[in-house]
Symmetry: C2
Subunit: 266 residues, 2 copies
């Protein structure tokens, strides 16, 4: 007899149709520093509700504006199909808690399997040793109070400077990432995982980074296994900064690319 066990990411992003809206519960298993739900996790919950309304499976491009900190607890998601075309469809979703909107996003869906145009790459996957030969950055544990680090595993040849108490002034990092429970990534998970690591600006000595907007491009359905990631910030001006994030799959293909607009804490 086999017991089907649902992976945590699927259980914790589950949405239920309730009339003209969806309901969900933001669990305490995906929190960032401060105990509030991680932005990528909230994005995934809202996107999953919208996905259920869309005639195409893949969230090709999603742009989410973060309006307020989220809460662990119930949420509702209001969706709107803005335009459904023959090849792509665009929708909107708003995640609401206690009557206040927390995240609003627009997303254009399509079918990545139907992408028939040419391919031309001027960038390469991060050069990392094989995951089996690469140390776990959290040495099997998790960051206290940051529960998302209990669900995601990070491996890199050496920890970033900030993690050793010595920010090295280089706001960029390359590392492996995967769900700890073995769930492979799919396009929806990629849209969450681009926000699943520590901000690159911590290596400038920043105490954190508040995401105002996140745009994620899903470029391919990922092959199973570890994801090679690259994060970088190049321009901090008056505290405002971008964070660029790339995810490459185990077959060496770019599968997601994102950019955040964020603010250093005062």
């Amino acid at each position: 007899m086999t017991t089907m066990t649902e992976h945590l990411f699927d259980a914790d992003t589950a949405v239920h149709r309730d009339g003209d809206r969806y309901t969900a519960t933001l669990t305490d298993r995906w929190t960032a520093l401060g105990g509030t739900p991680n932005g990528g996790y909230m994005l995934a919950v809202a996107l999953r509700a919208l996905q259920a309304e869309m005639p195409f499976p893949d969230p090709l491009v999603t742009s989410a504006h973060f309006l307020r900190p989220g809460l662990v607890g119930p949420a509702e998601i209001r969706t709107e199909v803005v335009r459904a075309g023959r090849r792509v469809a665009t929708g909107q979703a708003g995640l609401v808690q206690e009557g206040k909107e927390i995240v609003r996003l627009l997303a254009t869906f399509g079918d990545l399997e139907q992408a028939a145009g040419r391919t031309h790459m001027l960038n390469e996957a991060p050069r990392l040793p094989q995951p089996g030969e690469t140390p776990d950055l959290l040495i099997g544990g998790a960051l206290p109070g940051v529960s998302i680090t209990e669900q995601i595993e990070y491996r890199a040849p050496a920890p970033p400077g900030w993690a050793k108490g010595a920010p090295d002034g280089e706001p960029s990092f390359e590392f492996w990432m995967r769900f700890r429970d073995g769930r492979d990534a799919d396009p929806l998970a990629l849209a969450a995982l681009v926000d699943g690591a520590a901000p690159a600006v911590l290596d400038l000595g920043a105490r954190g980074s508040a995401t105002m907007e996140l745009t994620v491009h899903v470029r391919g359905r990922p092959a199973p296994g570890w994801l090679a990631c690259r994060t970088q910030t190049r321009h901090v001006i008056g505290g405002f900064h971008e964070e660029d994030f790339e995810i490459w799959d185990s077959a060496g293909s770019l599968v997601a690319q994102s950019r955040q607009f964020a603010l250093l804490p005062a």
Copy 2:
């Protein structure tokens, strides 16, 4: 006696409040290849209506999804204030023509003059000869059928390969840009100008590039004068590609950074 002459960009993005919405006219002076209004121009019209509803002046981050080709002619813009906070406010705008929505965007506004955080740059402005010593790429003319090139002036040491009929395989370009009539750029104009040049993928031999989504970060209020621009595409996968665009002002500051998600024509 002085006659005040309105600059074309201001006249052609003018919006008029009409009850709970705004009206505007998309003129034939900002068309792209094919004769349809340029995406950045449509974005600016929608953003100008939203700006009138926002308690802060600067569109810090705007994400626009392009739903259908626009038309030269009347348009209406439906706006919504999603959240007005103490330091930033987020709104939504939809540009509608003949009953169909053409562009929908979300934008978070703030006041760039109040940005008090630190600055740390890991990138430099394009190294270009002074504009006065740099050839006009259109030699005083404009591209037939692309009326936006009548309103914007482009200067670079040498034209891109595609413009000489020989795409050079390098989808990146650095150049000067300004409005031909001498209007200086402001944050609203920057949000249009990031889409005001030819797609970098033309140097891969592509015939064009259809923008699906455009996110623009405005990083500063530009100093008067010429704008130094850098455009680049690094990843074309199955026809889908990003285009990154930077605008640096005459004082050498990064003032806008954008990324498009676009598709090569079949």
